[in-house]
Amino acid sequence: MFQSRRGSNRQEAGTASAGSAQKAERDEIRLLGRISAGDMRAFEELYRVYYPRLMRFLERVTRRPGMVEEVLNDTMLVVWNRADGYNGSSKVSTWIFAIAFRKALKALQRFDDPVDDEPLQAHADDGPGPDMQVDLWQLREALTKALDGLSADHRAVVDLAYFHGLGYREIAQIVSCPVDTVKTRMFHARRKLKVLLAGDLEDWL
């Protein structure tokens, strides 16, 4: 039965991932404590953990590959300077992503011209890697373009939910809005994605 088998697997997987997540959270809080004391090695450790996550998130929200690293480092500079401002009311990742989201929106305010897809095209011309299925590659390319059609607020919600695995409550904290707004944004974003991806999703299995 769909329900019982899925429910059992979810429970086991959930227990295991919750334990490792709690340990990771404790580690990050300890790192923040050392960073607030000026420990550069602790900061580098945290930087290397968050670099790939923030790169993906900021690239998706800003749609400007050229500005991603600058916004990322601006974000982490706040972490370095204000580590003692973390009060434990949210997860460390929520605190950092919230800083990154605000920095991204601020950076986007400097640019109001439309974004072309030249970088995407240049990357697509490299062709898929040997292990990449062509259909999946095409879906990813279509998904990338479809996400670009969303607003920055909607992209942030979709990205945090789908590609960072965050719950809607945590997303609400990051983007500073009520949980119902997060659900509504996700609902509209999914509807638009389905329209923009018409055909691509059904083709890929």
Partner: protein, 204 residues
């Protein structure tokens, strides 16, 4: 009273939660609610499959991802930020000098304000509501010089209140206590052709 949600509400609620159900980020109660609805709703099961396909298909990344290069930039940024912070914080002696400078400026400002407090506000001759009321009127001879007029006023102890009027007269304020003598002194001046009291008392 227990509120029983309508099927349509459950369907909409489940749809809203599907992305997080697919990511296994719902709490147990919410996940159970979604599971129960999925068993009964083929449409939502199909939607869940689409969710999973979307989530598997990570979007392409076009930004170069080099953590070592990023970290090198980060260290440089921290150094420049620290330098700018140091520049923003003045040395102790400079802070003391600035404090003294502000104190001197403040003292000068207070002194200036106090010295100005003793000076009567400027008032034009034609301004209404004169603080001193006229109690005499005087007419000067047409050939009287400005020096003679000033001399007559000084000798008579008079202050110019208003004028010239339409008849070319000037209103004066003379000492009330010595009103009669003041009028007499004015009349004695060669520049004065007429000096009269404006008091109700008859002129001397």
């Amino acid at each position: 009273m227990k509120v029983v949600p309508l099927d349509a509400d459950v369907h909409a609620t489940t749809r809203a939660l599907l992305p997080w159900y697919a990511m296994n980020t719902l709490d147990e109660g919410e996940a159970a609610q979604v599971q129960a609805h999925l068993d009964a709703c083929p449409s939502c099961r199909a939607e869940l499959e689409l969710e999973r396909r979307l989530q598997v298909a990570q979007p392409l990344s076009v930004a170069s991802s080099d953590v070592d290069r990023g970290w090198a930039g980060m260290r440089k940024l921290i150094r420049s930020d620290a330098q700018s912070r140091r520049r923003g914080v003045a040395a102790p002696w400079l802070r003391l000098a600035l404090g003294l400078q502000f104190a001197v400026i403040a003292a000068l400002g207070v002194g200036l304000a106090m010295s100005r407090a003793g000076i009567d506000a400027y008032r034009a001759l034609g301004a209404g509501g004169a603080p001193v009321s006229a109690n005499a009127v005087v007419m000067f001879k047409p050939d009287a010089s400005e020096q003679e007029i000033r001399s007559a006023l000084r000798i008579g102890g008079a202050r110019l209140v208003d004028g010239p009027t339409a008849s070319n007269a000037y209103l004066l304020s003379v000492p009330v206590d010595d009103h009669v003598a003041a009028i007499a002194k004015l009349r004695a001046q060669p520049a004065v052709s007429l000096a009269e009291s404006l008091d109700a008392r008859p002129a001397p």
